[in-house]
Amino acid sequence: MAEFLSLHDAVARYVEDGATVAMEGFTHLIPFAAGHEVIRQGKRDLTLIRMTPDLVYDQMIGAGCVKKVIFSWGGNPGVGSLHRLRDAVEKGWPNKIEILEHSHAAMACAFEAGAAGLPLAVLRGYVGSELPNVNDQIKFIECPFTGERLAAVPSVRPDVSIVHAQKADRAGNVLVEGIVGVQKEAILAARKSIVTVEEIVEDLTEEPGYHPNACIIPGWAIDAIAVAEKGSLPSYAHGYYPRDNAFYKEWDGIARDREAFTKWIEENVMNAGEKA
């Protein structure tokens, strides 16, 4: 049953050094506040899973929290490279990181399979791609009915998943809307889960715009809920605030330079503290 905690306490309780962590949100609702809290608490040796590492993992990698990243598209969307990711992969700063890369389709299916409690996902994928040559977690199976060769990947089962959402209600039920990505799958696939939200309301089913088939994750499937207003900036929250596209462009300059990056983290993360 979801417990209401401060972001500090939720991260302190559930994110352990060495853990496998999925912080999801496909462009939308990226849990930046939680990522910053992980950096502030100096977590180390994390294995991070995310389809698109985005700036949030670039920051965590640069801050030295990470030993491995599992991903399927590692760029700054529409801008260019993730310079901290590249610096770690190419030059080992601040530490060498391992990478394991998939395609989006495979990772989406792996999250789906994780939520479905399965050990593997099966897809018509990686046909002719050389990714299976560099990722030993991609195997092929034969369909027992048709003989077709299909790709198989292990399901994603993180120790802890963290997502950001629009609202929770007093009973701990969480609403996600707009681009829902793999947030629900990330929560359901994980052993422990933290949801940061823009706000707490009385009862989601009494909210204006409530829809019987809206993407609502019941409180009993979540471990901790923490309020983090504007918790996904510079990403965005549908219905709350837009994506800060200008910052995504600005990040390119900050992240290119180790010193500029370190200064930015110091000023905007370490000394900023938890707002909510």
Binding site: P77, E90, E101, A105, R124, S129
Partner: protein, 257 residues
């Protein structure tokens, strides 16, 4: 008829024209997205644009910077989860054409968005596969658009992230349940198509004012030209106007805040 336009505009307009009204198109971010939206705003108002963020039948007023900008969801018919997008819509065979960009492409249309150099110690680490590996095999066919340069057009890609026709041009032979693969490549210089027999890229149309030599210089292997080489039709005034307005709206929107 002597309109002023840039080679980039020529590329986008030509790429846009490849899309037919009524097609369902899985759109990559960047150049493909620009071309697909230009098509929607000009000759193909009923084209269905699908982005991997889950937005189905979207009609953005400004071009998204990312594959999941709010604009895409707000203007979509409906937005589904990312697993559903890849499973039901792409793998489920509902996509007529995948529209992709790439960092590297080779003579057999294989795409590399993973890295330059060796996998273990890359010279340049690129973003990776994203949606492309399965878009290229699960969509009915694939259009590719990118700027022509010898760095981009190489004889053999350093890494096949996404299948064109494989290292020998036969990578799709006898593979069941996949699409036709790349059917055209649109650059700022020309339009290319894979040869129907051996799948090697062949220039079928030069953009106005572009020479064979320019294309050859920008291509990292000895490029073939079709016997009936054509000249690509110029952009129309309306296409240029719509494209420029779209880009101006987009610039204003993204500069904001």
């Amino acid at each position: 008829m002597s309109l002023e336009y840039t080679s980039a505009e020529m590329m986008t307009v030509t790429a846009a024209r490849a899309l037919q009204n009524g097609m369902a198109c899985f759109v990559g971010i960047g150049l493909p997205s620009e071309a697909a939206n230009l098509a929607r705003l000009t000759h193909a108002p009923q084209v269905t644009l699908i982005y991997e963020s889950g937005t189905l039948q979207t009609k953005p007023d400004v071009l998204p910077l990312s594959i999941g900008d709010g604009e895409l969801c707000e203007s979509a018919l409906t937005t589904v989860s990312v697993p559903e997008m890849f499973r039901y819509w792409l793998q489920g065979g509902k996509v007529d054409v995948g529209f992709l960009g790439t960092a590297q492409i080779d003579r057999y249309c294989n795409l590399n968005t993973t890295l330059i150099g060796d996998y273990q110690s890359p010279k340049v680490r690129l973003p990776g596969g994203g949606g492309a590996p399965e878009i290229a095999t699960n969509a009915g066919e694939v259009f590719i658009t990118l700027k022509h340069s010898p760095r981009a057009f190489v004889k053999d890609v350093d890494f096949i992230t996404t299948l064109g026709f494989g290292r020998d041009g036969k990578g799709r032979d006898n593979v069941p349940n996949i699409g036709r693969g790349p059917t055209r490549v649109i650059t700022d210089l020309c339009v290319m198509k894979p040869d129907p027999d051996d799948h090697e890229l062949t220039v079928v149309s030069l953009h106005p004012g572009v020479t064979r030599e320019q294309v050859q210089e920008a291509t990292g292997w000895e490029i073939r030209f079709a016997a009936d080489l054509e000249t690509t039709p110029e952009p129309s005034e309306r296409e240029l106007e719509v494209l420029r307005e779209l880009k101006a709206r987009t610039a204003r929107a993204h500069a904001g805040k």
